[in-house]
Amino acid sequence: MAIRIQEAPFDPGAELNALAELADGAGAIVAFTGLVRSAPDDPIASLTLECYPELAMNQIGRLVAQAQERFSLIESIVIHRYGTLRPGEPIVQVMTVAPHRGAAFEAAQFLMDYLKTDAPFWKKEATDAGSRWVDARAADDKARARWS
């Protein structure tokens, strides 16, 4: 298990390969990478993530430990950035390693659903017209609720 909260960029492929080295006895690795999205019909110039790092470590640490136990994972890693990112840049990467694919897929979705609502980051989009805080989405609350 590992969690990293960092301002620096990370390399999604290098992270996946480093994890694969630890995947002894595994049959399945799922890597989810979340990117700064700039929709063609509503482009953004940048996304700034504000963070409460100490709380993030506590919340995500507990979450990863829950996933590890609930889905009998071999390994699990969460990397989450903060600071100002450009469109296309990776924000978050969640990776899960399990004997079989079902557990790896489920655990990665579990982690992402909880990160959306329970990880203390706040997103602000900068556009040509100014900047705006991203609202919490009811759909994310619903996605999270399916695990309880």
Partner: protein, 87 residues
């Protein structure tokens, strides 16, 4: 009086208050997070406006998430913030 405690604000709450942290020393009748929010609102116009809907404000005590009925006695740092948008 309670012991002085640090309050952290994040995201639009920080912006509307124009400060990321402050030190406060609430009176003894301020028992819970909910009481603290009400007391902050009563004593500051910016806070009154920024937390017009106190029910959407989330809170942590010493970097642990808590509900509004959590007691603040003994808290070193209280954080108040909008709903999180991680991931």
């Amino acid at each position: 009086m309670l012991a002085p405690m640090k309050i952290l604000y994040f995201a639009w709450l920080r912006e509307r208050l124009n400060r990321g942290e402050e030190e406060v020393q609430p009176p003894a009748e301020v028992v819970t997070i909910g009481d603290l929010i009400a007391w902050l609102r009563a004593n500051d116009e910016a806070a009154e406006l920024a937390m017009q809907r106190p029910e959407i404000i989330r809170a942590a005590i010493d970097a642990r998430i808590v509900a509004h009925d959590a007691p603040i006695a003994g808290a070193g740092t209280v954080a108040l913030f909008p709903p999180m948008t991680g991931g």
